[in-house]
């Protein structure tokens, strides 16, 4: 609890932040309390920006760095901030930088939007929207229970694929336009760091441009990770990049890896009529999820579907289909390393995770060594060099640093960095970042899993408690005939601190934010249980969850002034 509060309350070293403030609705105001000196600084910065915007036509106008920053003698830079990589992380950082009055440029060698928008979260949501509806229409029992009659549901593969593609290009355009309209310079080409505060960019075969920036953020993201021995041909042995184009719906597809990506694709493929075989190196499917949620999810998402699985095995060799032979997968026991089995399937999807895309960044020019490809950073996303020292004015966010490989985590890290370079120390609380898996029904989580919480409790000497509520008791869920689901709260009974929340059930991905916001703002269970939820809504699942928790501490402080209505 203390950790999350302190991480947020560091608005300024001098800020007089009342640590026991009642949080609902008041916290935002509290965060605005800055010392006078900082306010002055921000004012002066804003004024400077206004004057600069008038001469935006001159591209590489030199602006003087804010004199209040402690970086030696004033120096001239082309930009206040240059971001390498225009994915969701870079985009989030750029938008916040503009809001903070920084002259910002973003370097992109491929398409704006990065993995998330073009080859990840966004198009996969389009496919999952289709699979969700197919699943519903094909579930005759479910339809009948609602009194609906539907003739056999079918789909047009190309139209489904187009939907995903159209969505990606729409979001890509939105991102591009939002940056353009705010005055972010989008520089095309691969970015390379030449030295401190100096970036080179340019397309292959074109002369390079060199720009200087007061601060640089690396946000180059990641690419699908393909283990050794697996030959990806893009047709029968594919990664998520190919699968999202939905060029074929194979009769039988093996999915290597049962994490988020694998699970979501199993949902899509089985809804479209494929049979699926999971190959998981660990002993259990769905590693990384809270075990209890994983068990329930398995019962709903795997067991009744046309899915089987092999656990505790590596896919050591995968040969694409050719010469009239199917895709051949050699399985090796993860422990004994002995060959175990051979599978013959129509296609294989490699969903074994993602590898950082940090090659060609010129990190050697500033003595930075990647670790398994990841750029080493401290808790403030500041890049560390080979000797473990901070590299001044260089930050790395998102998948490239490997802290938490989620689009919204990258964006949050970017915002955190911008806060720091504009003079407000900020450390992002990663335990407050929610994650979601968009299967049907969805899975979402924030904070610690039960085993993680237990370990922490043991180490730090406190008790934890668990509360659970079922979707079966929720009116809205029952009205939708979607009573399958569970919400689980892991908390400290002594202080009321929320350690983790896990949800499996209808719209779980949308429901998690009440919990993640509570963690981010340091709201305690005994306080949030008084918040009112509209009836009948799915959000009452969380309402009931908080209410069912037993806290030994009393309400921290009375609710603020009553407001007459």
């Amino acid at each position: 609890m203390q950790a999350s509060v302190s991480s947020l309350s560091i608005s300024h070293p001098n800020s007089t932040f009342p640590s026991n403030i009642r949080l609902c609705g008041l916290r935002q105001e509290a965060l605005r309390i800055h010392s006078v000196s900082q306010l002055n600084k921000r004012e002066s910065r804003r004024i400077r920006i206004v004057s600069r915007k008038s001469c935006l036509q001159k591209r590489l106008v030199s602006v003087s760095a804010s004199a209040s920053e402690n970086c030696g003698p004033p120096k001239s830079f082309d930009y206040d901030l240059v971001i390498i990589g225009a994915g969701v992380g870079g985009h989030g950082a750029a938008l916040h930088a503009v809001e903070k009055g920084l002259k910002t440029a973003i370097v992109e060698g491929d398409v704006v939007g990065g993995t998330c928008v073009n080859r990840g979260c966004v198009p996969s949501k389009a496919l999952l929207a289709v699979s969700g509806r197919m699943r519903e229409l094909q579930n005759e029992h479910h339809m009948k229970a609602l009194g609906l009659q539907v003739a056999a549901a079918g789909y047009d593969r190309q139209a489904v694929a187009d939907h995903a593609n159209n969505l990606a290009s729409k979001i890509r355009n939105n991102l591009t336009n939002s940056m353009r309209s705010l005055g972010v310079d989008i520089l095309t080409g691969f970015g390379t760091i030449l030295g401190p505060q100096k970036v080179k960019y340019g397309k292959v075969g074109f002369p390079n441009n060199v720009i200087t920036a007061k601060d640089i953020i690396i946000a180059t993201g990641s690419v699908p990770f393909v283990p050794r021995g697996i030959e990806v041909d893009g047709k029968t042995v594919i990664t998520s990049d190919h699968a999202l184009k939905l060029e074929v719906v194979p009769d039988w597809i093996a999915i290597v890896g049962s994490g988020y990506i694998g699970l979501e694709f199993s949902d899509v493929y089985t809804a479209l009529g494929s049979e699926v075989t999971f190959i998981e190196a660990l002993d259990l499917l769905m590693p990384g999820f809270d075990p209890e949620i994983g068990k329930l999810a398995q019962r709903v998402l795997i067991k009744p579907r046309k899915i089987d699985y092999h656990t505790g095995v590596f896919a050591t060799k995968i040969t694409p289909a050719k010469d009239g032979k199917p895709v051949i997968i050699e399985l090796t026991d993860a422990k004994t390393k002995e060959p175990k089995d051979t599978l013959e399937v129509d296609a294989a999807l490699i969903a074994t995770g993602r590898a950082p895309f940090t090659k060609g960044l010129g990190l050697e020019n500033i003595n930075v060594e990647t670790q398994r490809g990841f750029v080493p950073v401290d808790e403030r996303m500041r890049v560390l060099d080979a000797n473990g020292n901070l590299v001044p004015h260089l930050y790395c966010i998102g998948d490239a640093n490997g802290k938490m490989m989620l689009a919204h985590a990258a964006s949050a890290q970017g915002i955190s960095v911008v806060e720091q370079v504009t003079g407000r120390d900020h450390v992002l609380n990663h335990l407050s970042i929610p994650a979601a898996c968009f299967t049907h029904p969805e899975i979402s989580m924030v904070g610690l899993t039960e085993p993680q919480a237990k370990e922490k409790a043991e180490k730090e000497g406190f008790e934890i408690s668990i509360a659970k509520t079922s979707f079966k008791a929720n009116t809205k869920a029952l009205a939708e005939n979607e009573g399958e689901g569970l919400a689980k709260l892991i908390y400290r009974p002594d202080s009321g601190e929320i350690l983790g929340v896990h949800i499996f059930g209808m719209h779980a991905a949308d429901l998690i934010h009440e919990a993640s916001n509570a963690i981010a703002l340091g709201t305690r269970v005994q306080d949030i249980k008084f918040a009112v939820h509209a009836h009948p809504t799915l959000s009452e699942v969380l309402d009931e969850l908080f209410k069912s928790a037993k806290i030994n501490a009393s309400v921290t402080e009375p609710v603020g002034e009553p407001v007459a209505v």
Binding site: E140, H141, G154, Y155, D156, L272, K306, S465, S470
Partner: protein, 479 residues
């Protein structure tokens, strides 16, 4: 004798923080000794395992999984089964040592609180008796509960339920040997469900793999588009329409201004049947038949409500009775299926659709009853009220386009039948008899399409000969 099974998970209610709560015992999961009144010999060592009441509001529970399989030896305190109530899932333990003799309610099925879900035997000797008991239970106990929760429990036969918990695919051992059995995930699931030995099947799928259809065939199930809660998407239903349309537009040039009207359900069914019929090797045999006598008879019986359709159907049925092979069906490509009754399906065009009302036992009903029956069927068909067995139970189809003046045509064999007869119009025809005398007689051309896997040319010829004799001497029709 009644005692408790104890819940291991201390989570009876979610409304309390559970970390350090002591274990709660639901006073529900009873193991009752079998009552002597029901079975002649009292053997107190066989106990029924009952659906426990896990909460005050629970009226029925769903078996999430059996942790133990039939035949497993149980010792006191072991978890046996996971039960899902309206609130939670709970592991339930046994308070008795014994052997899990039989599982009465399968995984995924629901049973009311208090009904037997399994049978526990104390010694191996009692297993067979316990099993017998389970069979009698399964026929009665799950019946009332199944319909209200699970519209269709996975298998109609519950006599030997599959007990496994993890559903892990049977790890096939031999690596990449040619004799290796390859079965798709769903095929494996079905095999387990229906107790089909997958090792004994011959796969018909790509690369010789065993498909769900192969298993269904082996289990004697027609892969009808059944609603199945546990296994939602029928691949045939979704994959087939997906596979066909994208191909079709590619080969046709687009003509501007055309409108596309999607198939109605009936039209889609026709389309599906017609495409399916392509997999059957068919051939055709034609036969000219003089109809003067039939026409004369028709004039006589017409006032009594007899239609030409009924006359033809009756004639075909009588001929079929003498040639049972023409009334057979080839279901699996390996055998003849001799149909016990002669059901004549008659193709009727209705509101842009095509349906085949069936005159059941047409050989046994007399002409007048048959005509009356036909009238009813046609009315029902117009009102779209035909029951499935009234349009899909045909064993032989009759299609008559004679009323339009069509002199001959060729019918497509509907799937599941051995032969179809296409009847043309009866027309005055100049005929030279064996003595060289010319005369004009009414003649119609009859053309039969048949499945050559089971019906050969000589069979059809003989059948047609009989049929023509009946038509040319139609008195027998009225008898």
């Amino acid at each position: 004798m009644a005692s408790l099974l104890q819940s291991r998970t201390p989570s009876l209610s979610f409304s309390s923080s559970l970390c350090s709560t002591p274990v709660i015992r639901p006073s529900a999961f009873l193991l009752k000794p079998r009552s002597g009144s029901r079975i002649p010999v009292v053997r107190a060592k066989i106990r029924e395992i009952f659906m426990p009441a896990l909460s005050s509001t629970m009226t029925e529970g769903k078996i999430v999984s059996w942790i133990k399989s039939e035949g497993d030896v149980l010792s006191k305190g072991e978890s046996v089964v996971v039960v899902e109530s309206d609130k939670a899932d709970m592991d339930v333990e046994t308070f008795y040592d014994g052997i899990l003799a039989a599982i009465v309610v399968n995984e995924g099925e629901t049973a009311p609180v208090g009904t037997a879900i399994g049978i526990l035997a104390e010694t191996e000797d009692e297993i067979s008796e316990a099993k017998a008991k389970a069979t009698s239970q399964s026929s009665s106990a799950p019946a009332p509960s199944a319909p209200n929760v699970e519209e269709s429990s996975p298998a109609p036969k519950v006599d030997a339920p599959s007990p496994a918990v993890a559903a892990a695919p049977a790890p096939t051992s031999a690596p990449s040997t040619p004799g290796k059995v390859v079965a798709t995930p769903y095929a494996k699931k079905l095999a387990k469900q229906h107790k089909v030995d997958i090792g004994k099947l011959v796969g018909t799928g790509p690369f010789g793999r065993i498909t769900p259809e192969d298993v269904e065939k082996a289990a004697g199930i027609t892969p009808a588009p059944k609603s199945n809660v546990a296994v939602p998407p029928a691949p045939a239903a979704s994959a087939a329409p997906a596979a066909v349309p994208p191909k079709a537009p590619a080969s046709f040039p687009e003509i501007p201004g055309s409108t596309v009207v999607p198939f109605t359900t009936m039209q889609a069914a026709v389309s599906k049947n017609m495409v399916e019929s392509l997999s059957v090797p068919t051939f055709r045999v034609g036969y000219p038949i003089a109809t003067d006598a039939l026409d004369a008879l028709y004039e006589k019986v017409k006032p009594k409500g007899v239609t030409m359709t009924a006359l033809l159907a009756k004639a075909a049925a009588m001929a079929l009775a003498q040639h049972p092979v023409v009334n057979t069906t080839c279901k699996d490509g390996k055998s003849f299926t001799y149909n016990s009754s002669i059901n004549i399906a008659v193709a009727v065009a209705i509101n842009g659709g095509l349906i085949t009302p069936v005159l059941q036992d047409a050989d046994k009903l007399d002409l007048y009853l048959l005509s009356q029956k036909w009238k009813e069927l046609v009315e029902k068909a117009r009102a779209k009220q035909l029951q499935p067995n009234e349009y899909n139970s045909g064993t032989f189809t009759l299609s008559n386009l004679g009323m339009f003046g069509v002199d001959r045509f060729d019918a497509i064999l509907p799937p599941g039948q051995g032969a179809i007869m296409a009847v043309g119009a009866s027309k005055p025809t100049v005929i030279a008899d064996k003595d060289g005398f010319f005369s004009v007689k009414n003649k119609m051309l009859v053309n039969v399409t048949a499945d050559h896997r089971i019906i050969y040319g000589a069979d059809l010829a003989a059948f047609l000969q009989t049929f023509s004799k009946i038509i040319e001497n139609p008195e027998s029709l009225t008898m």
